[in-house]
Amino acid sequence: MRAFLNLLRLSWLQLARHRVRSLLTVLGVASGMFLFTSVETLQRSLARATETSAADTLLVVYRENRFCPSTSRLPENYADEIRRLPGVREVIPVQVVVNNCGASLDVITFRGVPADQFTRFAPEIRFIEGSEEEWQRRDDGALLGEVFARRRGLSTGDRFDAAGVTVTVSGVLSSPNAQDNNVAYVQLPFLQQASRAGLGVVTQFNVRVESSGDVATVSAAIDEHFRSAQEPTDTRPEKAFFAETAAELVELIGFTRWLGVGAVAAVAALVANALLLVVRGRVKENAVLRTLGYPGRAIACLVVGEGGLLGLAGGAAGVGIAAGFLRWQSFTMGNEGQTLAVQPDLAVIATGIAAGLALGILASLWPAFQAIRQPIVHSLRH
């Protein structure tokens, strides 16, 4: 162990004292890992937003054949009928207004909900700033999801307008449900008037079922109930809706995976090339170390140590820059009123750093083998 640490320190000294060369390599690795992390973040954010899990109990009821929130117009009083269906625990009418219905990187979504029902429907939300009472006190109050607030740099007391609606921030909330963090919650009648949808008309109902096993039966029951009504409905888990409406987005993001693969290959090639040059330049030096009694595997260890350190440093830098950039930008993709916040999580960060290290080590195996292939006397005569 002590010997290993000493070797690692030696690798470090080699890198530290060839500063420019090492920095250039780290920069290259960091660029690749930046791309890799961005792609990975996109993939994971999308997976989180679209892949329904067994724990999901949230359904969304839309107008059948809707396109965009604006064409989904349902009578607010459907809520009372839905609530009476078996398996339904809670229901809340929601009016949705977006600034941009197509695919966009900067979607602003308002959700109008009855002020007295909001926390009852979503007890899992946490207030980071402000409170429910402050929100209820003013008609134009808005509770912002944390990602939305960060992206726009908004906090309590600020006023802003979007999509023709002007509101005052009365709090910031955080929720385990991704969609909540990307939107602004306002009071239902306020939004109905501001958007000219008219009182009594909503876009959708969010329904919480008793248990995740009820999802399918309750969806079917709701649609069946309104089948011959004036406004028939289409009910599905929220994430399934998103997966469908954002199918093109999903396909596009799926394609970016290849960019990630490309970035990884570029990083490996870069490190391998750098180390091959290093090894070639150190033929004699390594032969001298072996003359001093360093076994071949110790020399290999030195080379792999350099590769690992380069990969680790480049990985950490690339991942750090990507995470900072994505958090600062807080991109929110959206499509037809459903939003996808591109946010790095801890798993992405850990994966990125580990990938950098692993790539550095893998890429240095061949150069390490090259370093010890020749007999000592041959290398000394080099």
Partner: protein, 231 residues
């Protein structure tokens, strides 16, 4: 009389170069008593470096026996030979071959990095070795900031830091001016006389050879005269 430190019998080394075989050393007999400072002279290509490489265990003989301190190192595996080198031999090169990114101190520390010594013990040994070669206050300079003579003294410190009984030196003064060369030779003589090191030094310089206890001449892979001390 004690067993010699080095005992070669019928020592042969040949290399295959494509279809031809070169034999730089052929059936060589040599005894070197412990604590002797031996000079090896001979024309270029006579096999001097080849012999040092065998004595120091960085190459293995094609035939014959090679006993060092009573151990037949021709029989050791590559891995065993590596461990043996670390304990028993110090190699001094003509061109010093210090690691350029490391300071004098760090260069001398190199042979100890894979040992079980603690950092404190390691540093104590490095300091002792550097003291012995008289490097003074230059220990935290990198090789590029040292003179040739200083570099060679660092290289000698590196060769003795693990306390080996055998030192081999391949033209250690070949690249130095006369004063620096004289200091290096004094140092080597002191190591043999006061510290009991057995030293085999290759040189082209008769003045350098004169510093040694005995001089042998190698020609075409053979030692001239009796190299086993029988008289």
């Amino acid at each position: 009389m004690n067993a010699p430190m080095i005992r070669c019998r019928q020592l042969t080394k040949s290399y295959r170069k494509g279809k031809t075989v070169v034999t730089p050393l052929e059936a060589l007999d040599l005894d070197v008593p412990a604590g002797e400072f031996l000079a090896l002279m001979g024309p270029s290509g006579s096999g001097k470096t080849t012999l040092l490489n065998l004595l120091s265990g960085i190459d293995s003989p094609t035939a014959g026996s090679l006993e060092i301190a009573g151990e037949d190192i021709a029989r050791l595996s590559r891995r065993e030979l590596t461990a043996w080198r670390a304990r028993h031999v110090g190699y001094i090169f003509q061109l010093y071959h210090l690691v350029p990114v490391l300071t004098a101190f760090e260069n001398v520390e190199l042979p100890l990095l894979l040992s079980k010594l603690s950092k404190k013990e390691r540093h104590a040994r490095v300091a002792t070795a550097l003291d012995l070669v008289g490097l003074g206050d230059r220990v935290h300079h990198v090789p590029a900031e040292l003179s040739g003579g200083q570099e060679q003294r660092v290289a000698i410190a590196r060769a003795i830091v693990a306390n080996p009984s055998l030192l081999v030196a391949d033209e250690p003064t070949g690249d130095l001016d006369r004063d620096s060369a004289a200091r290096i030779l004094d140092l080597l003589r002191g190591l043999a006389r006061d510290h009991g090191k057995t030293i085999v030094m290759v040189t082209h310089d008769a003045r350098a050879a004169a510093a040694a206890d005995r001089t042998l001449h190698l020609e075409k892979g053979q030692l001239l005269g009796d190299a086993c001390g029988h008289s």
